[in-house]
Amino acid sequence: MEDTRLVEGLKTGDDEAFRELLDRYEAKIFNTVLRIVKDRSHAEDVVQEVFLKTLRNIGSFNFQAGLYTWIYRIAVNAALDNLKKTQRMKPLSIHGNEEQTFEIPSDVDDPSRAPERAEMARILTGAIDELSDKYRTILILREFEGLSYEEISQTLECSKGTVESRLFRARERLRKKMEKYL
């Protein structure tokens, strides 16, 4: 189903359009939101909210941005709002409830390096978690979601220059923490 038909279907309350929307975006949005909020239960609530907001605001969607980018913007904003709320409630925790780790590409031929890789994954996860929300979010959108600078700038409603400089700073911080593993 093309985006225009999908949007029309959503506007008229077409059940098939709802399903198509979920088929396309549920898993992607869930993973993006989970990476930002770092808590599975919160992520589920946020994802539901994202799709409800999508439906509520679909009338104002005018294809200036892609549907994908538009929904991502809703998702990132909802996830960051949720994160702010939970951070206010749990000021002592910086790692959230969900210890999501990142897979280090495995040197399958060299099992002796497995402990080193595990250590690196643990440190990388911690280093990413310690980034401020604005750097972590932009890193997630680029590295994990594969969004281009243009798509990120539309999603976060900031300039491409801001995207570039934030990504640079985020990478520099990670590089310094991970230097001995790189």
């Binding site: 309350g13 599975r40 439906l55 897979e103 590089r175 790189l182």
Partner: protein
């Protein structure tokens, strides 16, 4: 400064950042590669950025099976509310904003009103407070203000009258 207009390795680091994201134009790409060919630290930096990017391959988590029915139900419920539901939400929002504005107005008015009373109470001269309590329109407020001012002026004139001041009393005593 290099002949290509770049001022040092730190500027190439930003180019490296864009290069790993495939966001570099062909001219900048060429300039970067010329630099990398003769700068080992920058070449090392590129390798580090690439390694970092390669390291960030996250586990993709499948959404819980119960999530989709839950969302679909919420979407259907939202859809069945339709335009009327959305319009109702807007009206409720409008009423909420009006209520907040009214509360703010009352709070500001009360602050002004009791602040004004406090000023009058601090003044020893008698004032008819009932004039203030009867204020209901801007005209009433103006009239009350003129009234209290007039009373105060009359009182001030009275207390300054030489016949009733200490000086005049002492003169009279001397005369006696």
């Amino acid at each position: 400064m290099e002949s290509n207009g770049f001022h040092g390795c730190h500027e190439f680091h930003e180019l490296i950042n864009r290069f790993v994201d495939n966001e570099l134009g062909s001219e900048q790409d060429r300039i970067l590669h010329d630099h990398l060919a003769q700068c080992a630290p920058c070449a090392r930096r590129l390798e580090q950025y690439r390694a970092l990017s390669a390291s960030m391959e996250p586990e993709t988590v499948a959404p819980p099976p119960a999530l989709r029915p839950r969302i679909l139900e919420a979407l259907r419920a939202e859809s069945s509310r339709g335009i009327n539901g959305a319009a109702l939400d807007k009206v409720i929002l409008l009423f909420r904003r009006a209520a907040v504005a009214a509360l703010l107005f009352v709070a500001i008015s009360a602050t002004f009103f009791f602040g004004r009373l406090g000023t009058l109470q601090a003044d020893d001269r008698p004032v008819h407070y009932e004039d203030l309590f009867s204020i209901s329109t801007p005209d009433d407020a103006l009239e009350a203000l003129i009234h209290t001012t007039t009373q105060k002026d009359a009182l001030r004139r009275f207390t300054n009258d030489s016949r009733f001041t200490n000086d005049s009393r002492s003169t009279n005593e001397e005369g006696e």
